[in-house]
């Protein structure tokens, strides 16, 4: 209609919201509060057609403002949250949960626990079933806090036993927390999701009480069940567990394989490569080379001396044995266009030499093999090293010179 420009309730509130949004982004909490005061009367209008209604807006915006505003106290914050809980039954548990998070951030663990317990006992007809997921989360977090209490008791117990005391009361409390925690944690990790903190705590509990089988099963599920989202940490946890258990290299290697696929730049790749290099199986050694090259593709690894030493060791070993040079060639083919500038520039040579001689040593070896004795990096470093009369650099120089033909075979 021709009166579309007229100011009505809806347009006025839309404008109000955009002022609030602007103020929030600029961290102008007073101004945001000012406009929110004007916005709240939207609660009296029905917005059931909109995606996000005013009650949710007010909850989220109000939380932000009260959390950051200098004049706002925790008491006010809690009071506000209680009001928000009454505003929307469909959101009740979500509001409870977020409230708990805020309390935890503020260090109010006891209050958080109380709120969780309260929320757990909430029932509201069919809403209880609809908000089942949130309920599980609430139970899980309570379980987490129970774990935290268990942990505290455990430490007290250990202290006492060191001092020679045995404390039955503490022990019993500890066990009771364990039971409470275990029940809830076990439940949540059954549901596909990312539950790192819950899994870690649960496994910790299981290990303490000696239930290694259950622990292993939990970790395997978490890592390998395809219903769960792909999660690098799952594999890390499994690997760490297996290592603690003293498992064979074979199972350790298999635990890290998927991690390499998902996160080639993960810090455990060094361990992985080290294990693979030593393996008797050819495929594994081949994989090791792939792994270490892939890790060094990432900028974060450029100055990792350990990684370079792994690569250097393996490359050296291959060159000396004169077997499987094609492995190096395969890995180098896709990298020869950019690794020289990325790793082996003259500038880097200077810098590496200045900052970390070991690093420059390892890199020089690799550079010398891959790019030949005439490459900038090797020339500079080996020259500097020999000038400084460091023995290993002299040896390095000889080695590379001797195996220079290898470079020709690789690059050709």
């Amino acid at each position: 209609s021709s009166h579309e420009h007229r100011l009505n309730f809806r347009k006025s509130k839309e404008a109000c919201l955009s002022y609030i949004q602007d103020a929030l982004l600029r961290k102008q909490w007073k101004r945001a509060a000012e406009f929110l005061t004007c916005y709240v009367e939207s609660l009296e209008k029905d917005y059931s057609r909109e995606h996000i209604g005013p009650s949710e807006m007010i909850w989220r915006i109000g939380t932000e403002i009260l959390w950051h505003h200098s004049q706002s106290s925790m008491k006010e914050f809690n009071c506000f949250m209680e009001q928000m809980k009454t505003l929307g039954v469909k959101r009740y548990l979500k509001v409870c949960l977020e409230h708990v998070f805020h309390l935890l951030c503020n260090g109010q663990i006891d209050e958080a626990y109380q709120n969780l317990s309260l929320a757990e006992s909430w029932r509201f007809g069919e809403q209880t079933a609809v908000q089942d997921k949130e309920m599980k989360l609430i139970e899980a977090y309570r379980g987490l806090l129970d774990y935290y209490s268990w942990s505290k008791q455990k430490n007290i117990l250990l202290e006492h036993s060191e001092d020679g005391f045995s404390d039955l009361a503490v022990e019993q409390e500890m066990h009771s927390y364990f039971r409470k925690a275990a029940v809830n944690l076990k439940e949540i990790i059954k549901i596909p999701g990312v539950w790192d903190v819950f899994v870690k705590c649960y496994v910790d509990l299981l290990e303490f009480y000696g239930d290694h089988n259950e622990a292993r099963q939990v970790l395997n599920e978490y890592a390998y069940n395809s219903k769960f989202p792909s999660n690098p940490n799952a594999h890390v946890y499994l690997y760490q567990f297996l290592k603690r258990q003293g498992e064979s290299k074979k199972s350790l290697i298999s635990a890290l394989k998927i991690l390499h696929d998902i996160v080639p730049s993960h810090e455990l790749m060094i361990d992985f490569n080290t294990m693979l290099q030593k393996s008797k199986k050819r495929k594994k050694r081949r994989l090791g080379l792939e792994v270490i090259f892939a890790a060094l593709d990432y900028a974060g690894w450029k100055e990792n001396a350990k990684a370079w030493s792994c690569l250097a060791r393996q490359v050296k070993q291959i060159v000396i044995s004169e077997k499987h040079l094609d492995w190096i060639k395969q890995e180098w083919d896709s990298r020869k266009d950019w690794w020289p500038a990325f790793h082996f520039s003259r500038y880097l040579a200077k810098r590496n030499w200045q900052e970390n001689k070991s690093l420059s040593y390892e890199k020089a070896l690799v550079a010398g093999i891959l790019l030949g004795k005439d490459c900038k990096y090797f020339k500079y470093v080996s020259h500097q090293g020999c000038k400084a009369q460091l023995k290993r650099f002299r040896i390095l120089k000889k080695f590379v010179n001797r195996h220079n033909p290898v470079y020709l075979r690789i690059s050709g």
């Binding site: 021709s2 009166h3 420009h5 007229r6 100011l7 009505n8 309730f9 809806r10 006025s12 404008a15 109000c16 955009s18 002022y19 909490w29 007073k30 101004r31 509060a33 000012e34 406009f35 929110l36 005061t37 004007c38 709240v40 009367e41 609660l43 009296e44 209008k45 029905d46 059931s48 057609r49 007010i58 109000g62 403002i65 009260l66 505003h69 004049q71 706002s72 006010e76 009071c79 506000f80 009001q83 009454t86 505003l87």
Partner: protein, 574 residues
């Protein structure tokens, strides 16, 4: 209410019925000895009175409410608006004579009171207390959903789903809910026939009365005063007496959630004037405030333009005859004359004058300004030459500040009032709870707002932008001279600018598409847009309305030339 005598005590005509069937004056509660029976004989065919005597409805409801009709509500509102206008300085004649009589005339013509009701029409008004069985058998009673779907131009309440969903559960056998007696009937009535009363129409009444008295308040000012809160409009129903319970469908009528628009109030006013068969309004002569010469002076001052421009506006007004009494005075029902928007017209005249002198093609005006600047350097005597550039910078800065303030005010506007609104008893407790929560939250976040929230209304002022000649920073241009843009030719001062561009070559047919022209910012020079924007802000209307008037004026001004050269040029030489 069908009783026309003035009250002995307060001279008001505002009657109600007591329990005993006597008439009492609502204004001063003076109870008369006149009883219903006496009056009944005169109005036998008035079925409203019939149903009262049949006793179908209780006089007083359980909750302390009384019966009231929609038009009573409007009457109260009009009264309050008139009082507010009086407080603003309008003469008391307006309230006691003019507006009052207009209203009574309206009631009579729309057959809501002071008349015999035609026999065929029966009032099927229902109140909340009744779940009358005789209603069930009535096939013509509209469904609740039908009433809800009636589009109201003033209310957004049809979007209120909670009402819809709660009402849809109500079966046909229960009544339509409204606090007033005839709320549902009111919404059903055929709009076209009887010019049903609406909230924006109250302002039309006010404006009509102001125009009749030729008071110095333009329609745009009136509407601005309404928005600023000096004249009751939004939430005025909260001042209804306690006994008048407002709920259900009454809300659709009295609770508006949008500000009325100039065009709407303007058009309705003319419809109303015709409907009431009013005679020719008092003459608007050149000594009236509403005359273009006067209004131009005001707007020139407000726009910080040189006083000398007034000569030019008067010349244009004279040339195209828009200062004539017959052009300006309202003749209700006369469809052939174009309705005059006094304020928009005056603003448009100024825009045309600016175009005449400065061309406003984003080029020439700046050249002229540079030229004036040069001359100002050597100018020692008399006032400075008017420099368009300086004026633009000063005014734009102020305008931007004011616009920003206005935008923020609009975003912060509080639409609801203390009185909780609810559609049905079911909703009442929920509505009250919500209201309480809103108040709590307002308190909580209000405290965190830091700086004082101005809850006070700004003082009503006729001028929004003020420029003082006492400012030494040269930000006031009233006294500046137009010598820089004028030249003498044969003893007459004419504009140096030889050119003019028309906003549009051909005017649209207003009756068909509602406008004389269609304004799109991108098609016109920035300077023109700026000038339109300035007056658009001052009058609180869309730039396109001013543009329409500008087109109209231009076509009158260049009538002869247009006629001759229509096919050839878009730029004419004067």
């Amino acid at each position: 209410r069908d009783f026309n005598e003035r009250c002995a005590q307060c001279s008001e005509v505002n009657w109600g019925l007591t329990d005993g069937g006597r008439f009492y004056c609502r204004s001063c509660h003076n109870v008369t000895e006149r009883t219903r029976e006496v009056v009944n004989t005169d109005f036998l065919t008035n079925s409203r009175v019939q149903t009262i005597s049949k006793g179908l409805r209780k006089q007083e409801k359980n909750d302390g409410g009384c019966e009231w009709y929609i038009c009573e509500g409007f009457q109260l509102i009009l009264k309050k608006q008139a009082e507010a206008l009086e407080a603003l300085g309008v003469c008391s004649q307006m309230k006691d004579e003019i507006l009052c009589n207009f209203w009574r005339c309206y009631l009579q013509k729309s057959k809501q009171a002071y008349c015999k009701r035609p026999a065929g029409e029966t009032v099927k008004a229902l109140s909340v207390c009744e779940s009358s069985t005789d209603v069930d058998s009535d096939p013509e009673r509209p469904s609740l959903l039908h009433l809800l779907s009636l589009s109201e131009s003033e209310g957004d309440l049809q979007t209120d789903c909670s009402f819809a969903s709660s009402v849809s559960k109500v079966s046909e056998s229960t009544s339509v809910y409204s606090g007033s007696v005839d709320g549902s009937l009111y919404l059903m009535k055929n709009q076209k026939e009887k010019l049903r009363m609406t909230m924006p129409m109250t302002l039309s009444f006010c404006y009509m009365a102001l125009l009749w008295l030729r008071e110095p308040i333009t329609l745009s000012e009136l509407l601005r005063f309404v928005v600023e809160g000096h004249i009751p409009y939004m939430n005025v129903f909260q001042h209804f007496p306690e006994k008048m319970k407002l709920c259900g469908l009454d809300l659709r009528i009295f609770c508006v959630e949008s500000w009325p628009v100039y065009e709407e109030v303007f058009n309705k006013m003319h419809e109303l004037a015709a409907f009431l068969d009013l005679p020719r309004f008092p003459d608007i002569t050149d000594s009236c405030f509403l005359h273009p010469d006067m209004l131009c002076m005001k707007y020139l001052m407000e726009a910080n333009l040189p006083d000398e421009l007034h000569n030019w506006t008067c010349r244009v007004v004279k040339k195209i005859g828009i200062g004539e009494v017959d052009f300006l005075t309202l003749m209700p029902g006369n469809k052939s004359t174009r309705k005059v928007k006094y304020d928009v017209l005056a603003a448009a005249v100024i825009v045309v004058v600016l175009k005449l002198l400065f061309l406003l093609d984003d080029h020439y005006e700046w050249l002229l300004s540079e030229f004036a600047e040069e001359r100002n350097k050597n100018n020692t005597e008399g006032g400075p030459y008017f420099e368009f550039k300086k004026w633009y910078e000063v005014v734009k800065q102020s305008l931007d500040v004011e616009q920003k303030k206005l935008d923020e005010k609009r975003a912060k506007y509080l639409w609801r009032c203390e009185k909780p609104l609810f559609y049905s008893v079911k909703n009442k407790s929920k509505a009250l709870k919500r209201r309480q929560m809103v108040v709590n939250l307002q308190n909580q976040f209000g405290k965190l707002s830091g700086s004082v929230r101005c809850a006070e209304k700004p003082n009503p002022s006729s001028f929004q932008l003020c420029w003082s000649e006492e400012n030494t920073d040269g930000s006031c241009f009233h006294g500046h001279s137009l010598k820089g843009v004028l030249q003498e030719k044969r003893g007459l001062l004419t504009a140096m600018n030889p050119d003019y561009w028309l906003c549009t070559i051909k005017l649209c047919n207003e009756n068909l598409c509602g406008h004389l022209a269609h304004y799109r910012e991108v098609e016109f020079p920035q300077s023109y847009h700026f000038v339109l924007g300035l007056f658009s802000f001052l009058l609180r209307i869309q730039p396109s309305y001013i543009h329409d008037e500008v087109c109209m004026i231009e076509h009158k001004l260049f009538n002869k030339k247009l006629y001759k050269k229509l096919k050839y040029n878009t730029v004419l030489r004067k």
